[in-house]
Symmetry: C2
C-alpha cells in the first residue's frame, strides 16, 4: 500500500508538502500541486486515517451503543446517526450492549480503545452512578432516551409516562373503562414509566386498577401473543387494550385474529410505536409515537457541539404524538 513517502518521492517533493496539499493548507505553485496530484493518482494513494488519527490526536470516530441490531428499532437509530455523521465526515463505530450492564461496559471500552471522540449511548443497563462516573472522563457522550440527574445537558429525553397516559386517556375519552395493558419488563426504567402512565390515566379517570388487566411481556412479539391469550381468558370484560410495544401488539393482534375477535368492534387497540409497525398491521393500529429517529438525529448534533466545545442550543426533549388510526371504537355508556 502506497504511503505518503512514495507519493512524495514520485512527485519529487517532501512529505510535508504532500500532506499540505492533501489538507489544502497554505498555497503552492500550481505545478507542484499538479505533480503531487498526479503521483497520488498514479499510486492510487489514499491517506491512512489511522496514521492521521495518531498524528492529530483525533480519531474522527464516534461510538454508538445499541442493545442489539435486529428488530428495526435500532436500524432506525443507526440510519439517522450514520446519516448525520456522514455529513460531518466522521466514522461510525457501533457496538451492542446485549441487554447486560457488562455488555454495555465492554462496548464503551471498545469505543475508548479506538479513542472515539464521542459516544452516543442508548444505555439501558448501566446505573446512573456509573454514567455519572463516566462523565468524569474526558470523552464527551450523549445519552439517548435516558434521564440521569446531574447529566441533564447530555440527555435526549422522552416522557414515556406521559406518552402512555395520552394513549390510555384517548381510550378513556372514547368511553372505555375496562382497559387492559401489556407492559414491558417493569424493572427497566422506561418500561415501568410506560406502565405508570397507564396507571395514572386510570386513576385520573376514576377507574380502578385491576391487576388482572395488566400482564407483563418482554417487548417481543411472542410475549404479546401470550399476553393477549391470558387476557382473553382471564379478563373477558376488557373492551380496550394498550400495548407498551409495537411488537407485542403484533403478537396480540395475531392472537385476536385467530380467535375471531373483531377489531375494533369487539376490542379497541392502541400501542406504543416507534418505527410505524402499527401502520403495517391489519387493521391499522392507533398509537403514540416515540420519535426515536428524530431523537437520534439530534443526539449527533448535541454530541458534535460537545466535541467542539460549543454551546449549541438544541432541543433535547421530545413530545409524544398520538396517531389515530382505525383500531379504536367509541364505546357508548352502558348503564347498569
Amino acid at each position: 500500500m502506497a504511503s505518503i513517502k512514495d507519493v512524495a518521492s514520485l512527485a519529487g517533493v517532501h512529505r510535508s508538502t504532500v500532506s499540505r496539499i492533501i489538507n489544502g493548507e497554505g498555497k503552492f505553485r500550481s505545478d507542484t500541486k499538479r505533480k503531487v496530484e498526479r503521483a497520488m493518482a498514479e499510486l492510487n494513494y489514499r491517506p491512512s486515517a489511522i496514521a492521521r488519527s495518531l498524528a492529530t490526536a483525533s480519531s474522527n470516530m464516534t461510538g454508538l451503543l445499541v442493545t442489539y441490531y435486529t428488530g428495526g428499532f435500532f436500524g432506525e437509530m443507526m440510519e439517522q446517526v450514520q446519516a448525520e455523521l456522514d455529513q460531518h465526515d466522521k466514522f461510525l463505530i457501533t457496538a451492542q450492549g446485549h441487554r447486560r450492564a457488562d455488555g454495555e461496559r465492554e462496548a464503551i471500552r471498545r469505543f475508548h480503545d479506538l479513542r472515539c471522540e464521542g459516544y452516543i449511548l442508548n444505555s439501558r443497563y448501566l446505573s446512573d452512578d456509573e454514567l455519572r462516573e463516566l462523565a468524569q472522563e474526558p470523552t464527551p457522550f450523549v445519552l439517548l432516551d435516558r434521564v440521569v440527574e446531574g447529566l441533564e445537558s447530555r440527555c435526549i429525553t422522552f416522557d414515556h409516562s406521559l406518552a402512555a397516559k395520552m394513549a390510555v386517556d384517548y381510550l378513556v375519552e372514547q368511553g372505555h373503562s375496562d382497559i387492559a395493558c401489556i407492559s414491558g419488563p417493569r424493572n427497566r426504567a422506561s418500561c415501568n414509566q410506560r406502565y405508570q402512565g397507564y396507571v395514572q390515566a386510570l386513576k385520573n379517570a376514576g377507574l380502578a386498577l385491576d391487576p388482572r388487566l395488566t400482564v407483563e411481556g418482554n417487548y417481543g412479539r411472542e410475549s404479546g401473543y401470550l399476553a393477549a391469550q391470558k387476557l382473553y381468558h382471564t379478563a373477558p370484560e376488557m373492551t380496550a387494550l394498550f400495548s407498551c410495544s409495537e411488537e407485542m401488539m403484533q403478537g396480540a393482534l395475531q392472537f385476536f385474529h385467530e380467535h375471531h375477535v373483531e377489531i375494533p368492534r369487539q376490542l379497541s387497540l392502541i400501542s406504543f410505536d416507534s418505527i410505524d409497525l402499527c401502520a403495517t398491521m391489519y387493521p391499522f393500529v392507533s398509537s403514540v409515537h416515540f420519535p426515536i429517529s428524530d431523537m437520534a438525529q439530534v443526539a449527533v448534533g448535541l454530541l458534535m457541539s460537545q466535541i467542539n466545545q460549543q454551546d449549541a442550543c438544541i432541543q433535547r426533549h421530545f413530545e409524544p404524538e398520538l396517531r389515530i388510526r382505525n383500531s379504536v371504537n367509541r364505546r357508548e355508556f352502558v348503564s347498569g
Copy 2:
C-alpha cells in the same frame, strides 16, 4: 489520556517492557509484572488501538457494506457479523451503499481509508468488472449473496431462482394455475432471478405466462399494497400469489384484508422471506426462506480464513427452504 509512557515511568520500567506485558510476550520477573499492572490500573490505562494498528500494520477492523440499516434485513446481517467478529476480537465498521454504485464505492473507500483488514460486501450496484478489479487490490473481501465469475472462492451464494421456483412449484402442486407474482425491480440481478424462477415454474407446469399476472414492485411494503390492488382489479381469476419479498407481501396482505379477500379460501399466498416476517402476518404466510443470517455468519468465517491466508473448507452455497404455514389452500381441479 494516559499513554504507555506514563505507565512505564510510574512503574519505573521501560515502555517496551510494558508493551511486552500487555501482549504477554516473553517472561518477566513477577514483581515487574505486578508493578506494571498496578500502574496500569492506577492510571486506568488502555492501550490505543490506533497506535497499535499503526505499529503492527493491522487495524483489526473489518468493513461491512450494506444497502441501508432500516428494515430488519440488514440488522439480521449485522447481528451475525458482529457476533462472529467479536469472537475474533475485531472491530466492525459499517457503511451504507444507499442503493447506488457510487455509494458503495464511497463506502469501500472509507473501509480502505481505515485500512480494514477485509471487507464483507453485500454489494448490489457495483458491476462484476469493478468487483474483479477490486480483487486485484491486496485487501481480501467476501461477497455476500452474489456470484461473480472469476471470484467464486469469495462468493457466498444463494440460488434465488431455484428458491422462487420451489415456492411456485408448491403452488402448482396444490392445484393452482392462475398464479400471480409481485416481483422486485428486475434490473437488479437477484430480483430478476426470483422472477425467472417464477417463469420457469410456470413453464415446467405447462402454464402460460400471462403478463397481467405479474406486477413489479420495489420490495417495499407500499409497493406490495399497490401491486395487490392492481392484480385484484385486472386479474380477478388469480387463485394464488407469490411475492418476491416479505415486505411486499405485508402490503399485499393489508390490501386483501381491507377488501375482505379470505386467505387462503379465496386466495393462496406464498412469499420470499428472510427475517421471518411471514410468521408475524395474519394468517401466517408460507414462504421460501433465504437464510441471510447463516450466510452472514459464514461470510465472516470465510473472510477470516482469507485474511489468515488459510484455505478453510467452508460451505459457500446455501439452499432455499420451504416453510409451509397456513396461507395456501389446495385447489381442486375444476373441469370445463
